[in-house]
Symmetry: C2
Subunit: 338 residues, 2 copies
């Protein structure tokens, strides 16, 4: 085994010495800035490659007073929706110098605060974060950061700088219209325990508002804690139907539990969508390939990621009033009567 002395990390100076070109010019070459003759350029590039030099962005960032990072703060990676948002962001950032850095809050506002603090201490060029609900310190930090801040997923509420998302209130209303239009009248809702999930809460509010407007009460609600899974969907569906056997429609707060409910109902021999209609929310890919396609609302996740990234990157202007509202898109699937 070779005696592996702990190398001093390489610096610009090493490349400068190896190439016989000043540090400044080496720096120019490595960043493609300013005019450098082809010959010097070549020398520098060769030297850098030979040495295996990797520039130190810490020093660079300090000197230039800016850093090409975009802080992206989301509640969870386990939730199927966020990878989609991230892929939209990456796609749009790919042809810019900006790079996303992901932080995860686990749906906790205080964790969000500390994640933001850590990320802002790297002085990113922009921030993208999920939701409009943040604690006071987080809002203060974001305002003090004086970089673009884009809140995503939701537009129903107060915006710090810019919001890109759908109206979940509207999504709830839209679903109510579809449910009522299809003739269902005894409707139940299944969702996460509310304090944590502001967007589901807004959808429920939109649903109830529209139902009430039509004189149709929401018959039952069932809430759960923790992550979503097919198993949870089965369990909650069984429970709500045990309590209220004559329900004719179940609106789930996400596709995963909706799919679990769907599988369970089919096994029980329910007539879907004839006697019982079902709908979820998000429009995740997972639904393709289930025995029946669950009705759902496409929450425009990839688009949201893209547009947010475009705004942070300066590819498109900040929308008027700071809100960019995308339209939630109802997808009928096979689990709601035509």
């Amino acid at each position: 085994m070779p005696q592996r002395t702990k190398r001093r990390p390489l610096t610009l100076r090493d490349v400068s010495e190896a190439s016989g070109v000043s540090e400044m010019t080496v720096s120019r070459v490595l960043r493609n800035r300013g005019d450098v003759s082809a010959a010097t350029r070549e020398k520098v590039l060769t030297a850098a490659k030979t040495l295996g030099y990797v520039p130190n962005k810490i020093a660079g960032g300090l000197a230039s007073q800016h850093v090409n990072l975009v802080a992206v703060v989301i509640p969870s990676l386990a939730n199927l929706v966020f990878p989609d948002v991230l892929s939209g962001i990456s796609a749009e950032l790919d042809d810019t110098p900006l790079q996303p850095v992901i932080g995860v809050t686990n749906y906790s506002l205080s964790r969000e605060e500390s994640v933001l603090y850590d990320m802002l201490s790297w002085r990113p060029s922009g921030v993208i974060l999920a939701g409009l609900e943040h604690n006071r310190s987080s809002r203060a930090m974001l305002e003090a950061a004086s970089v673009p801040v884009v809140e995503i997923m939701d537009i129903d509420g107060d915006v710090i700088d810019t919001a890109v998302g759908i109206s979940h209130l509207e999504a709830g209303r839209q679903m109510a219209a579809e449910i009522l239009g299809a003739g269902y009248r005894r409707i139940g809702f299944i969702g996460t325990h509310m304090p944590e999930d502001h967007r589901a809460k807004k959808r429920l509010a939109g649903l109830e508002e529209a139902l009430q407007h039509a004189g149709v009460p929401l018959v039952a609600r069932e809430f759960y804690q923790g992550g979503s899974s097919l198993a949870k969907g089965r369990e909650l569906t069984e429970r709500i139907l045990a309590r209220e056997p004559d329900l004719d429609f179940l609106y789930y707060s996400n596709d995963m539990i909706g799919a679990g409910g769907l599988l369970w109902c089919r096994e029980q021999g329910f007539d879907i969508p004839g006697k019982l209609g079902l709908a979820g929310f998000n429009g995740v890919d997972l639904l393709e390939g289930l025995p029946m396609r669950l009705a759902t609302t496409d929450a425009r996740r990839v688009d949201i990621g893209r547009r947010a990234a475009r705004i942070v990157a300066g590819k498109e202007p900040r929308p008027e009033q700071g809100k960019l509202s995308l339209a939630p898109h109802f997808m009928p699937g096979d689990t709601i009567r035509k």
Copy 2:
């Protein structure tokens, strides 16, 4: 709208002036280093909070010559397995000063190289990256970085510094033993097109080796490109059974396509596990809640994340030979005969 002058970002100096304490002592307080009297401490903290000061880690990192970041490089976030690995990493890093920074390669070695280059330019304290297959430049960079490098998921191959994972060869052999032990003899394999997926390739090799050893040939293979989904699983299952209708076992390279196959086979009325056995790989949560539990191998994702993080954090020593091998765990489910 208030005239919002572009503020100069706050510095230590501002806190120093506001509190009447030297910059150095302010720095000490903010980092909990060295002895500072309770009184000064209080003054500093108050001043910092009032101003809304967020330390500049770029400057800090440059001065201290180190940065509490761990680069985590994975192929994809859409793949259900990586969020699990990441949660293991986070869990173990949570009580250390280290923070994970995620980079995504989209299963491309050249993209891996550029992601590594970018991450190493931040001079992280350690690197965790998926797989043992990297291009020459990537290996060179990692070796030159002189920080702990932990390759995860796989241990069948050459290690740069440390590897934490399971043997996929062994997982394939183990599955072969289970399949043969249950009496299946006409076995097919369904998986991703190989060049991209080294670990699936190793499982297939392990499977074939063990089958061959028992004098049982692998009857059919079906490969696909792109992401995994239930729909893809259905499609491939239909195709392989159209070609080879007398197969009595299907081994899938992951649970998602396995689950799709399972759903399809049930709809076709196949007798599972009687006439046809099925197994996937990974042991993802998704499987709970399907009509039948797919047989699978638990790939120890969370444990892998934890152990890798522990090694990077110095909580546990680098294993001998640089390889930490966890045992893949067969889970029979309901789709293989007892």
